[in-house]
């Protein structure tokens, strides 16, 4: 029986696949790769199992989830990777902060050198948010010879080229499955499983906070601020939710996916984006009446004119998979020219889904798969982008337009005339009688046929200047 102590003891016992009378024999077979031979007394064959020493930087929600998987379920990595991931160090800013996990003695510290100066630690999961000190720590980890797994999409979206170039120079790897869509393994799927394809379209609901808020607004008849408070109460939104609700978070993820699928080098901040923070309940109701739901959709697709990219609240036809994504779920629809359309749906964030992605990357690092992937993909290298970005004004879409107009006969003719002059063709019009007698303004909803972004924007600007049109025109993309 293993005479382990605390969580590590548990790890060992577990690793023996519950062998009741196993004996542990610690050995070191070379300087860099200590091996523990587990002699499974009750099985016919002795089963030698190597360990890979790993470490964590940061012990927030995701870090705690990763530590739980490593400590409580070491048997899984043994079974799926033929080796044990041994949690050697956890470095945090404040060691005295109360945590809801028992770490083995001696594992926790606030000294990064306990990782960088330990040559036996091979893989480190960097699980702190923000750009600094995350960037500096990642460089220190790479320079001390560690492979790094991260869930920090902002860091990659901002400093990807610098960090990946440095990793390549040093012969190290970076993995980041957890950075996009949490539990949905979209990074591995796009970069490995569809290697034989040219991806032609990616459309995704990449921000769970926004999707939760929009779903609440639609299903609970809440307004934006009520729904946001609910999201914060349930832990689906940060205290400062700006990056989530203004489309920036989705744009950062889209920039990463577009880099994988198209070699795009577009910085996330250059991706045209609109958030859900100005979404009005009225539009959710009109959309519903028209047979659509509004979702924050991130799009990166190839067109004849180039690569089209944007993040927008979008009307999606009911019954289409993206329209039916509820609560804080994420979903991605990928089209490859050989494989056709593939749709993914799952938890895009949260402690254990994200930890699942981090540990899968750590296993890929430990067994050597990630090194191959990292080397062959040459991500964020100096290689040129293969597709030109389509001028956003030339992006073709159907549009939903809503105006608040004076209730008199010539107004629709004026608006239709302006749209016509800009060659924006009307597919359908929804104008109701005034709700209350004496109302002088009424809502006017127009669905267009496919038209260029620029033409509809210019038409809207012209319409907004009409005396009979009140401020607050709404324009949203429509996908079937």
């Amino acid at each position: 029986m293993v005479d382990g102590e605390g969580a590590h003891g548990k790890l060992l016992v577990r690793t023996l696949l519950d062998a009741p009378n196993a004996v542990v024999l610690p050995l070191v077979d070379c300087a860099w790769r200590p091996t523990i031979l587990f002699w499974l007394g009750h099985l016919q064959l002795p089963k030698p199992m190597e360990i890979t020493k790993v470490a964590l930087v940061g012990m927030g929600t995701v870090g705690t989830g990763v530590a739980r998987l490593l400590l409580d379920h070491g048997d899984r990595t043994g079974r799926h990777a033929g080796r044990v991931l041994w949690l050697e160090q956890v470095v945090v800013q404040d060691v005295d902060k109360p945590r809801d996990i028992d770490l083995p003695q001696g594992v926790l510290s606030n000294d990064l050198r306990r990782i960088t100066e330990d040559p036996y630690i091979e893989v480190v999961a960097l699980l702190i948010g923000g750009l600094e000190p995350a960037r500096t720590i990642m460089l220190q980890l790479l320079e001390s010879g560690k492979d790094v797994v991260t869930a920090n999409k902002a860091l990659l979206a901002e400093h990807g080229p610098e960090l990946f170039d440095r990793a390549r120079e040093l012969g190290r790897s970076i993995a980041f499955e957890a950075a996009v869509c949490g539990g949905i393994p979209i990074i591995a799927n796009i970069s490995q499983c569809f290697s034989a394809n040219q991806i032609t379209s990616i459309r995704g609901i990449l921000n769970g906070t926004s999707n939760f808020i929009v779903s609440q607004m639609e299903e609970q008849d809440a307004d934006y601020h009520e729904a946001l408070r609910q999201a914060q109460k349930l832990g689906y939104a940060e205290a400062d939710p700006t990056m989530d609700v203004d489309g920036s978070d989705a744009a950062q993820k889209l920039a990463i996916l577009a880099h994988l699928a198209y070699g795009s080098r577009t910085h996330w901040s250059e991706i045209p984006r609109v958030g859900i923070d100005h979404l009005e309940k009225a539009d959710l109701l009109y959309a519903r009446d028209l047979g659509y739901r509004i979702k924050l959709v991130a799009v990166a697709q190839l067109t004849a004119g180039g690569l089209e990219m944007h993040v927008d609240p979008t009307l999606v036809k009911k019954g289409r998979p993206l329209a039916e994504v509820r609560a804080n779920y994420n979903a991605v629809s990928v089209v490859g020219d050989a494989v056709g359309p593939i749709f993914y749906h799952g938890q895009g964030a949260g402690q254990m889904p994200t930890a699942s992605a981090v540990v899968a990357d750590m296993i890929d690092m430990a067994v050597g798969r990630m090194e191959i992937t990292f080397r062959t993909l040459e991500l964020w290298s100096q290689r040129e982008s293969r597709f030109q970005v389509l001028d956003h004004d030339r992006v073709l879409s159907r549009f939903y337009l809503r105006f608040t107009v004076e209730d008199r006969p010539s107004v629709l003719a004026q608006i239709a005339g302006i749209l016509g002059r800009h060659e924006v063709s009307i597919a359908s019009v929804l104008q109701r009688e005034p709700e209350h007698e004496g109302d002088v303004v009424v809502p006017l909803v127009i669905m267009t046929h496919q038209a260029p972004e620029g033409a509809t924007r210019r038409a809207m600007e012209e319409i907004a200047r009409l005396d009979s049109v009140r401020p607050g025109c709404v324009r949203m993309r429509v996908i079937n």
Copy 2:
């Protein structure tokens, strides 16, 4: 400029990423791995690119798709794998058969030795169906030192242990992404992306032919035989569709997934299965009225009592992702204890989706990732199964029951009495008035609460013996 000839010339030019003034310099840097250095004159750095020689056995629908991807889109593998897959040999039974692809001269033959005796060929895709000669050829390929990619699920389901053991003995690898769900990369996802999880549930629509037939029956109001003829006309069903429509094909795929997720060693033929070949239109209509659709669902999930596995026509609540899978699509819902529920939807068969999966495996072989995966997973090894299979009689489900009964008052009481004695609790009853005056029998539909498989089966047998009940009782599983 490359002075290539035919398809291979195209391959080379493409591989240069369309470099206009590139020069090709063929070299051999060691006996086993010929290298071609592509000096990209217009880029700053010379870009050496290795090639991996590959071959195909079989040139049917999928083989032709694979050859197209290799010959016409060599640039993709160059970009995604850092190397070119060079199609060196294609071995078929009949070289004179007309084919809708132009192969480079000298590639096609009917002599397997042109592959087995060529030490430069590293990876072979075995793309013929059936058990023999596929099994013998796979053994010959492994013994001649080739790694083998296959789409032949029957071969794996039947001879997996023998083939995988032999591959391990010889230090070779077998890959089979295309064998289950065609374009959906479910094998890689379960065996790599969810390594940190214990999978707790797999539910899938794994047979596109059956799903097409059932969708046609539901949407076009066709009966089974009309829908089958339509499927055959569109090429979605074989001339002999038995294995597809009787649930065997889905059971073979389920056995493979259950092996990956649970280490199950259950042979596919031991999985309880019912096909769609006796499905009646009436039940589709009743299901619709109750808010369900009928789908052929394959299930492998962990319960307190053990591993539950079966393939059945099943009522799935409308709006749930599995219920909305139409036409010949496949879908899989996987639950991992860390990652939560993940849903996949895509083309489960067809030339290019299947070819996409085959080439992705060939790339994984060529770069060395597959060797690691194969070695660490120890598939179909002598390792024991970790979960006991749950006795099928103890499987708990809700059930849909339909009887044709005489239209008199005591019948429902009798039936309810028998169900009660077997402790099968009724959730709802649907009994309509006779459609035509003078009808002496009426349909009676009962939805049960959760009850054991065995108890409902025994209750049904007892009910079927009642004088007031006509032959042809129907029992189907229900999932919400």
